[in-house]
């Protein structure tokens, strides 16, 4: 029997994978991929809990998360394009102008 815990653990695993990506990716585009993983992981959890409680709020949350994810992609890519036009690189290490 697949319980809620199964889904939550899956969520945890996926979220952790996302964190790994966030921490190790230095290509900004691929770093954004990792953030998508984070949101997707949470989506699974929400739907599972929603199902478990028979409550729709979770699904709603998921729905909006998907919307947010889509918006983020648009803005994020826009920023990346700007940066790329200016610097010719989307490597994270090129973002070193400001520090200290």
């Amino acid at each position: 029997m697949i319980t809620l815990t199964h889904y939550l653990v899956l969520t945890g695993i996926l979220f952790s994978i996302g964190l790994v990506g966030v921490m190790r990716r230095t290509n900004l585009l691929m770093l954004f991929f990792s953030t998508e993983i984070l949101l997707n992981a949470v989506n699974v959890g929400f739907v599972a809990v929603s199902k478990y409680y028979g409550d729709l709020s979770g699904q709603m949350f998921s729905f909006f998360i998907i919307a947010v994810a889509a918006s983020e992609v648009a803005v994020g890519l826009g920023l990346l394009i700007l940066w790329y036009k200016r610097n010719g690189s989307i490597d994270l290490n090129s973002l070193q102008m400001m520090k200290g």
Binding site: L4, L8, T11, F15, G18, V22, L28, L31, F32, T35, L38, L39, A41, V42, G45, F46, V49, Y53, D55, S57, G58, M60, F61, F64, I65, V68, S71, E72, V75, G76, G78, L79, L80, L82, W83, R86, N87, L95, M97, M98, K99, G100
Partner: protein
Amino acid sequence: MLEPISISMASLNLPALLPMAILVVGALGVICIDLMAKGLNRSFYTMITVLFILLDLGAVIGYNGSIRGFFDVMLVDGIARIAQVIILVASAFFVPLSLSHRHFKEFKMAEYYALFMFMIVGFQFMVASDNLILIFLGLETSSLALYTLIALHNRAKAFEAAIKYFTMGALAAGFYTLSALIFYALTGSVEIHQIEQVLIERDFEPLVGVLAGTVFMIGALGFKLSLVPSHTWTPDVYEGSSAPLAGYMSIVPKIAGFVVAMRLFEMLVLSGVVWLEYILYGVVVLTMTLANITALVQEDVKRMLAFSSISHAGSMMAAILIGTTQANSALFLYWTLFMFTNLGAFAMLWIVRHQKNLWDERYQHPFTKFSGMVKIMPITATIMGVFMFALAGMPPFSVFWGKLYLISAAVNSQFIWLAIIIVLNSAIAVYYYMKLVIYMFLKDPVSNDAGIYATNASTPLKVIVGFAAMMTLFAVLFVEPLLNVITKYVIASGF
């Protein structure tokens, strides 16, 4: 099968949505005008924006409906209203900073103003709800708009700032959703008041779950409030943004964040989750101290102010930690006073902005830039000095009264050590504020040309700075009425 649904319009309480609607209309209107008439002057857009903000403000102040609205998604309680007023007032003052002497590309774009208004809408939703979904959406709306606004400054540094802010924001969004998930899993609800109810019913069991949810929420809000260790974006983003936006960022997103934090954390702290109290204590102390200490060694005024605003935010978290009515009132009082002072400080930076980095390759506003300013522009230097003293918590300038009230709240709730840490931090902080004063007043000028300092000065900017200076100087006179209003609303909303 589904029942037909009948909903009375009155129960929706649509006026609660009116303020946001006004700005949405404004934003859309601005875009439409841009489509129809190209090349309108920035002053037009600025003033239209200010007008809409004022209308919005009127709607917020004039609102007298019930607290709940629209299927209980909206929550227009006291703190929501105060926070909105602060957000709108701050916006109304920061937007006109676009009317600088120099012309900047972004201020010519109608999109800038539209995004600005959308951003405000996002913040307003954030504070006027206790539904985690709506809060999330508000947060994201405002954040996305803000990232764009930063990038619109169109400098390499601005892009860098925007990307850094964006990426960290995405991670924070992940934390937020995970936290919401945990709370949802715990309680089956995404509304803070219901979460509270269920948690209390179950006596916070399983505690580890509650704490995990809290931890991720600290992560998410901590990013917004720039709490250590999620604060690292702050100086870079402030440096990369234009001064008006940086100043804006030091005030408005944070007050929105504080309201959410207040709704969520205080509920937990006051219900006896000691763990959170300890953690918040630690975070508060760490944030204040670390930011202060790092600010000491900054070479750029803007970065210094960034660290200083981190530190101020840290001491505001103390208000949430304390959690009494007085502390919460102190938070809003402090932030109002801090708003005027920071408005002044950043507006000053905006005024003295120069096209080229004449003083330092790396920094736009290095301390050396301000050397001997009192000899060249005595009044400017004096006003800047007043802002610095105010930020340092020097009596009788504005921030002092906020700090006083906050420490008083701490003392009255027996948080003596917290109070001591706060004041010790202000003793450290005074050094870096003083550093600017020392540069301005006690060093010899590098150049005697007043022109290079005032390249960006214009009448609107001067008026704004003058207003901010007045508010800073004579804060003592309006602390009482302000406090009365704030306390009234804070009590009304049960905090």
